[in-house]
Assembly symmetry: C2
Homo-oligomer: 689 residues x 2
C-alpha cells in the first residue's frame, strides 16, 4: 500500500527539518580522507561515513532496545562529545606483521533521551585511515538497574541498493560454510560479517565487528534493499544479549578503501581489540603441520573404530616420521578418542575426551614424536554438545598438557541452532554457533587451554573478530568452506573461491583452510574398501598444483596444514619443497594486487628473516599479472624461486603442469606472473649473500 505517499511524507519532513536545532558533529581519520558525521536530526541518532568526499555509508540509525528498560530508539539528543587522538605501535607475538600501528582519531558522542526516564548512552567512534569502528557504551545509571536484556540493536548500515556485494547468508544451518554469493546489496537478505561491498565509484567496504566478547555475534538483516540492521544472534531464550551496566557492545567496523587490496591492508580489527591478557605467550608457536585427516575425508580411513581406523599407532608414527623428516612442527590426529562409532552427530554426549581408542597410545606416540622434534596436535570434536564437552574440558586439557600437546583443534559439527547445553534447571537448551553462550564458551575453552599453554584451532567456530590479540593462543579457526569440500562437497569449491575468501572471510582473521592437496583427483582412485565408496570423482580441488602452493601465502594461518597424504607429497618432492620452505609467521604482509573473486597477489616477509614469499591465485580465468616488487628491501638482490603454472596448465584439463625456475630479482623489478585458469604462482625470494 501507498509507498509513494510514504515517500511524499518523508519529503515533507525533510522540508520541515530545516528550522530544527539538530546537532551534527564529525570526526576525520588522521589522513583526513574518512569522515564520520553523527547527528540527532528528528530525535534519531544517526551516523554517516564518507571517503574523500564520496559517500561510504549514508545516514544510518543508531540505537539499542531492552526488554525491561526504556532504550534508545527515538526522542534522542546529543548532549556531550569528547575527542581524543591516538598514535602508537604495538608488537604481535605472531601474526601477519610484527609491528602494528594504531593511529586514529576518536569521537565519543553521548545521546540522552528527551522523553521517559532520564538516561544516556555514548557511542564511541574511532576513525582510522582504513576505516571506522564504533561501539555503544552504557554507563551505570539509575535508569538501568538490574539485569539488562538486549532485544534489539538498531544499528543500521545504508550501503545503497545497487552496490555490489559478496556475502554468505546468516540464517541457515551450515556454520559459515557457504559459497560466497555475489550480487547487488539489494539482493542481500541476511548475511554474516565480514561482508564486502564495492560501490559504483570503486569504493570498497567491509562491514564486520571487533572484540566480540560477552555479546552475541552480529549478522546483518536487510530492512530494505541496501539498508541493513545489525542483528545480534538471539539466545535460546530469545534474548539477544544478557548483560548489566556498565555495558558495552563489540566494535562495529566499517573498512573503507579505494581499492580491493586496501581492505586487506588494514589492521583496524586488531587495533580495536584489547592487548594480550595472557602475559608471556612465547609458548604459542606458529608452524606447519600434517595430519591424520585427509585420508578420512577421501574415505581411505575412518574416524571410528570400524576396521580402518585412521588414528592407529602405526599410521600416526608414519606421519610423525614424515613430519620429522621434512621439518613440520606438528601432526594432527583426529578420531583418536572414544565416541565416533554411532550417531555422534545427534548424540554428542558419546564423546570421551580423555579416553583413547585401544589402537591409539597417546603416551607412547607423544614421546615418540617428542624424540623426533615433532608435537602431536590434539583434537576435540564436540558435535555441538557443549554441556558434555565443558564437563570434561579441564581434564581433557590436563591430559594433553601432560603429554606435551601444544595445540588442539576443536570441532562443533552440529546443525546451526543445535548446540546443546542445559540451563540451571536442567532444561535442555539449543543455541546457535554464534550466540552469546557460544561466544562465552569459546573464551572459556581458550582460557582453559591457555592455563596449560595450549593453543586453539576452532572448527565450526564463532567467527573471528580479532580476539587473537587479547588471547594469542586462539591461533586460527575454520569458519568458511575449506579444502575438505573438495573431498566431498556438492559442489566442491569453485575456481574463484580462494580469490573471494581473501577479500571476505580472511578480513576477519586467520583461517585453517588446510591447503596443499597434491593429488587433485582424490575421488578418482578405486576405493580401498568396496563398502566405503569414494565421493563423485567430479568432486576435486578445482585448482592447479601451483595454486595449491600459492595458498600458503594467500590464506594466512599461523598453524598451516600440509593437508595431503605423505605419499602424495613424496611423489612430488619438487613442488613439496615450497611447502617445506614457506613460513607460517610473518614480519610483514602486503596485499599487492587483486580484485574480489578474480585474483589476488600477497607478499609476506618471514618473521625474523629477510626472506619474502609471494602467492598469487586466479579464478577460473587465466591471466597475466605484473607484480611490482616494491615490497623487497632496497639494494638487495634476491634469488626468486618461482613455482608457476606450466604453459598449458588449466585446473580442469592439466592441473599438474608446474614450472619451477630461479632468477635474480630486485626491488623496482616487475615480475610478470602467468596464472592459468584457477592457477597460481608461489615465489620464495632469498637474499643473495
Amino acid at each position: 500500500m501507498n509507498l509513494w505517499s510514504r515517500l511524499a511524507g518523508l519529503a515533507a519532513l525533510i522540508g520541515a527539518c530545516g528550522p530544527l536545532a539538530a546537532e551534527s558533529v564529525s570526526v576525520a581519520s588522521p589522513d583526513g580522507r574518512i569522515v564520520v558525521t553523527v547527528s540527532d536530526d528528528g530525535g534519531t541518532a544517526r551516523y554517516a561515513a564518507s571517503f574523500a568526499g564520496r559517500e561510504a555509508i549514508a545516514p544510518s540509525k543508531l540505537g539499542l532496545m531492552f526488554l525491561d528498560h526504556h532504550g534508545f530508539d527515538r526522542d534522542l539528543a546529543i548532549t556531550a562529545t569528547t575527542r581524543t587522538s591516538h598514535d602508537a605501535t604495538w608488537e604481535q607475538p605472531w601474526g601477519e606483521r610484527r609491528l602494528v600501528r594504531d593511529h586514529h582519531n576518536e569521537l565519543a558522542v553521548t545521546f540522552a533521551a528527551t522523553t521517559g526516564p532520564q538516561r544516556q548512552v555514548t557511542v564511541r567512534f574511532r576513525v582510522f585511515d582504513t576505516g571506522v569502528g564504533f561501539r555503544y557504551e552504557l554507563p551505570a545509571q539509575p535508569a538501568f538497574t538490574g539485569p539488562l536484556k538486549l532485544i534489539e540493536e538498531l544499528t543500521q548500515f545504508a550501503v545503497g541498493e545497487q552496490t555490489e556485494a559478496w556475502w554468505i547468508p546468516s540464517r541457515q544451518f551450515n556454520r559459515y560454510e557457504y559459497l560466497y554469493r555475489k550480487g547487488r546489496a539489494g539482493d542481500v537478505e541476511d548475511a554474516h560479517t565480514p561482508i564486502t561491498f564495492r560501490k559504483a565509484d570503486g569504493l570498497h567496504l567491509s562491514i564486520h565487528e571487533a572484540a566480540l566478547v560477552d555479546y552475541s555475534s552480529m549478522s546483518l538483516l536487510a530492512l530494505r534493499p541496501g539498508i541493513f540492521e545489525a542483528l545480534p544472534r538471539a539466545g535460546a531464550d530469545g534474548i539477544k544479549v544478557h548483560g548489566q551496566t556498565p555495558f558495552q557492545t563489540p566494535w562495529r567496523t566499517i573498512q573503507i578503501a579505494p581499492d580491493a587490496v586496501g581492505l586487506i591492508n588494514s589492521d583496524i580489527i586488531l587495533n580495536l581489540n584489547e592487548p594480550s591478557a595472557l602475559g608471556d605467550v612465547s609458548w604459542v608457536k606458529p608452524g606447519k603441520y600434517l595430519g591424520v585427516w585427509w585420508e578420512m575425508h577421501i574415505r581411505d580411513r575412518s574416524w571410528g573404530n570400524d576396521g580402518i581406523h585412521g588414528a592407529n599407532n602405526a599410521d600416526v608414527i608414519r606421519h610423525i616420521d614424515f613430519a620429522a623428516e621434512h621439518g613440520f612442527a606438528g601432526v594432527l590426529v583426529e578420531g583418536w578418542n572414544i565416541g565416533w562409532d554411532g550417531d555422534w552427530f545427534n548424540n554428542g554426549d558419546v564423546f570421551r575426551f580423555t579416553e583413547s581408542y585401544p589402537d591409539f597410545d597417546l603416551p607412547m606416540l607423544s614421546q615418540y614424536a617428542a624424540r623426533k622434534g615433532v608435537s602431536l596436535i590434539g583434537h576435540h570434536e564436540t558435535s555441538g554438545h557443549v554441556a558434555n564437552y565443558e564437563a570434561q574440558m579441564e581434564a581433557a586439557f590436563d591430559l594433553y598438557e601432560k603429554h606435551g600437546v601444544p595445540a588442539v583443534k576443536t570441532g562443533y559439527v552440529a546443525d546451526a541452532g543445535d548446540i546443546v547445553r542445559f540451563d540451571d534447571k536442567g532444561i535442555l537448551r539449543r543455541e546457535w554457533h554464534d550466540s552469546q553462550f557460544m561466544v562465552g564458551h569459546h573464551l572459556r575453552v581458550v582460557k582453559a587451554a591457555a592455563k596449560r599453554r595450549i593453543a586453539i584451532n576452532a572448527h565450526e567456530p564463532v567467527k573471528d573478530t580479532g580476539l587473537r590479540r587479547t588471547y594469542p593462543n586462539w591461533m586460527t579457526r575454520e569458519g568458511a568452506r575449506g579444502m575438505e569440500y573438495n573431498a566431498w562437497g556438492s559442489p566442491p569449491n569453485p575456481p574463484e573461491h580462494e580469490a573471494t575468501l581473501a577479500f571476505t572471510r580472511m578480513l576477519s582473521g586467520p583461517m585453517d583452510f588446510t591447503p596443499g592437496i597434491f593429488d587433485l583427483h582424490p575421488n578418482s582412485r578405486p576405493p580401498l574398501r568396496p563398502d566405503m565408496p569414494r565421493s563423485d570423482p567430479a568432486i576435486r580441488p578445482q585448482t592447479t598444483l601451483a595454486k595449491q602452493l600459492a595458498l600458503y601465502v594467500v590464506l594466512y594461518s599461523p598453524l598451516q596444514m600440509a593437508a595431503d597424504l605423505p605419499e602424495n607429497y613424496a611423489a612430488r618432492m619438487d613442488a613439496f619443497q615450497f611447502i617445506k620452505d614457506v613460513a607460517a609467521d610473518w614480519e610483514e604482509s602486503v596485499a599487492v594486487a587483486g580484485e574480489i573473486g578474480e585474483f589476488v597477489v600477497m607478499a609476506r616477509q618471514a618473521r625474523g628473516t629477510d626472506t619474502w614469499f609471494l602467492g598469487a591465485v586466479s579464478d577460473g580465468t587465466a591471466r597475466t599479472v605484473a607484480v611490482p616488487l616494491d615490497f623487497l628491501a632496497e639494494g638487495v638482490t634476491y634469488t626468486a624461486e618461482i613455482y608457476a603454472d606450466g604453459p598449458d596448465a588449466h585446473w580442469e584439463t592439466n592441473p599438474y603442469a608446474l614450472t619451477i625456475s630461479q632468477r635474480p630479482l630486485r626491488k623496482g623489478d616487475t615480475l610478470a606472473l602467468q596464472l592459468a585458469a584457477s592457477g597460481g604462482a608461489a615465489v620464495r625470494f632469498v637474499p643473495q649473500r
Copy 2:
C-alpha cells in the same frame, strides 16, 4: 568438517535401530490415498505423509520446547492413540462455495517423555482426501504449571532438496509483498506460508496453517536443503508464543494433490477452523466496490490535505454517483482522516480515526450514499502504530456504525518488525506484522468491528489461515503484491504473477487484489501537477484488458474492487459490462485447469443463481486452453458472453484488443480459449430460458 562421516554415523544408527521396539501408527484419508505415519523411533517423534504410495513428506520431526519447562525434543515414546472419523457438511454465509464437506479421519497420538519430569503432549492428525492437518495439544498437567513460553517449535517438513518450490521469503521487511520466487526446495532459505511445491513425480504440496489464534505466525526455515522447520515469529521479548495449559497450536497443514488445480480444489484450511463465533452474520454482505484510491497511487491526488486531496466531498460524490449508476455496493475513501500530512510512516500516532479533513463531510456523504443505495467503505491506516489505533478503535468503529459504514479497510504500512506498542511499563515495543501480538490485535479489531456489524478488509495484514469461518466479518485482506505495484512498483507485477498467486497466496483465502485497471498505461499521461511527477511510464499493469476482467473470477475476494477511475470505465463500457455483471459471492467454485505460474482457469457459480462465470489468465506466454465445460448444469443451454483477447492482443504491444462475443454452450462442450501473452478470458454463462 566431515559431513560424510556424519552420514556414516547415521547409517550405523539406522542399522542399529532394527531391534528397537519403536512404535509406528498410521491413518489414511477417507479415499485411502493419503497416509500419515507417526513414530517414536529412537525416541524422536516423527511423522511422514504419502499419496497413493508416493512420498509426500519424508519422516519429519515433531516437538516443542519451552523456556521454563522441560519440553518435547528427544526421549519420547508413544503411549496412547485414539481414532475418530468425521463426515459432515456445513454452510458458509459467503464464500467460494456455499456447502463445504468436512470428511476426514483423525488420529491423536500421545507422546510421553521417558526422561525428566513426567509429561505428555498429543499430536492430533486429521487426514482429508486433499491433505493433512495436525496440531499439538498440551493438556494441563503437573509438569506445566505457570506461564508457558514457547521458544521453539520443532515441527519439520522434509520435502526433498530437488522438489520445485514457489515461495516468498519471510525474513525481510515487506509484509508478504514480494514477487514469488521459483526454484528448488533446496534454494529456499526461509519462506512464508502458504508455500507451494511440486515433486519430480508431479505430486503437488502446499504447506500452511489453519486457525492461527493466540500463537504467532509460522514461517519455514531451512534446516538443511529441502528440510524445513516451523519458525513461529518471535515477539519483541524473543519468546515465540506465550500461553498456558491447556495449550494448543494452530493446525499445520499439508495439502497434497496429484495436480496443480487439486491444491485449489480443497477446503481443508476452512475445515480446520472453528464454526462461526458470531451467530447471525447476514449483515456481512459480499459485494463490489469503487474507491478514492487508484487516483492517489498514480499521483493524480493525495491522501493528505495538500491542495489535491482525494477525499473531498465533490470527488466522493462523483464516485458515489458512478457506483449507484452501475450497481456497485460500496465506495472506499482513503485519506479522509487527519494524519496524512507529515511523516506518518515513522509517526503513526498522528492518525486520528474520528476526525475528518475539513473537505470530507462524513455525515453528509454517508447520507448521500445511502439515498443512492451505496455504502461508504471506511479506512483506518495505522502505519503500524497499533497503540495509537487501539486507543481510538472503539470510538472509530462507533463513528462508522453511526454513519452506516458496513466495512472498513485497515492498513499497517510499516517496516516489518516495526509495529509499535507499549508494554505494561510504558516501554516501547516493536513487533512483527505476524507476531502473536498482531495475531491478537487483528482479532481484537475484528471483534470490535463485529459488535458494530462492520466487516474488515485488512491490508498489510497477518496472513489468512481461514479465520473467516469463525469470524465471517473478516472478509478479505491484502498480504501479497496487489495491483498497486503496477502504479509504482519497481518492478511492477510480471505477467506470471496472477497465475502464480492462484496456486500460492490464494490457497490461504480471499485477497483484495483490486483488479480492473482499464488504463493500462497509467504513468504515461502527463502529470496533473508538475511537482507530482508520475512513476516511470514503464511501470504499468503487464496484462491485457481481457486479463483484467478474468481476475474477477480467478482471484477470489468477497469484497471485490473495480480499482480504476470512473472515467476510465466510462471510456470502455463494453468491457466494463463484465465487471458490472460478475458476482462477488459464489455457490460453487472449480479450478478447472492450470499449472503454477503458467495459467489457470477458474469457474464459479454465482451464489443463489444458475449463472456461471469463468476466468482464465496466462503468464507471458500466449496459449490456447481447451476448457471442458463439465461444471455447467446438465441439460441446460447457456448463452456464453465471452470477453477474449483480440487476435493480435499482447500485454506489451497491444493490450486493449478485446473481442466480445456470444455463443450457446452446454455441459459436455469444450471451450477453446486463446489467451494472449499475459492475456486472459472472462466468460459469463447465462442459462437460456
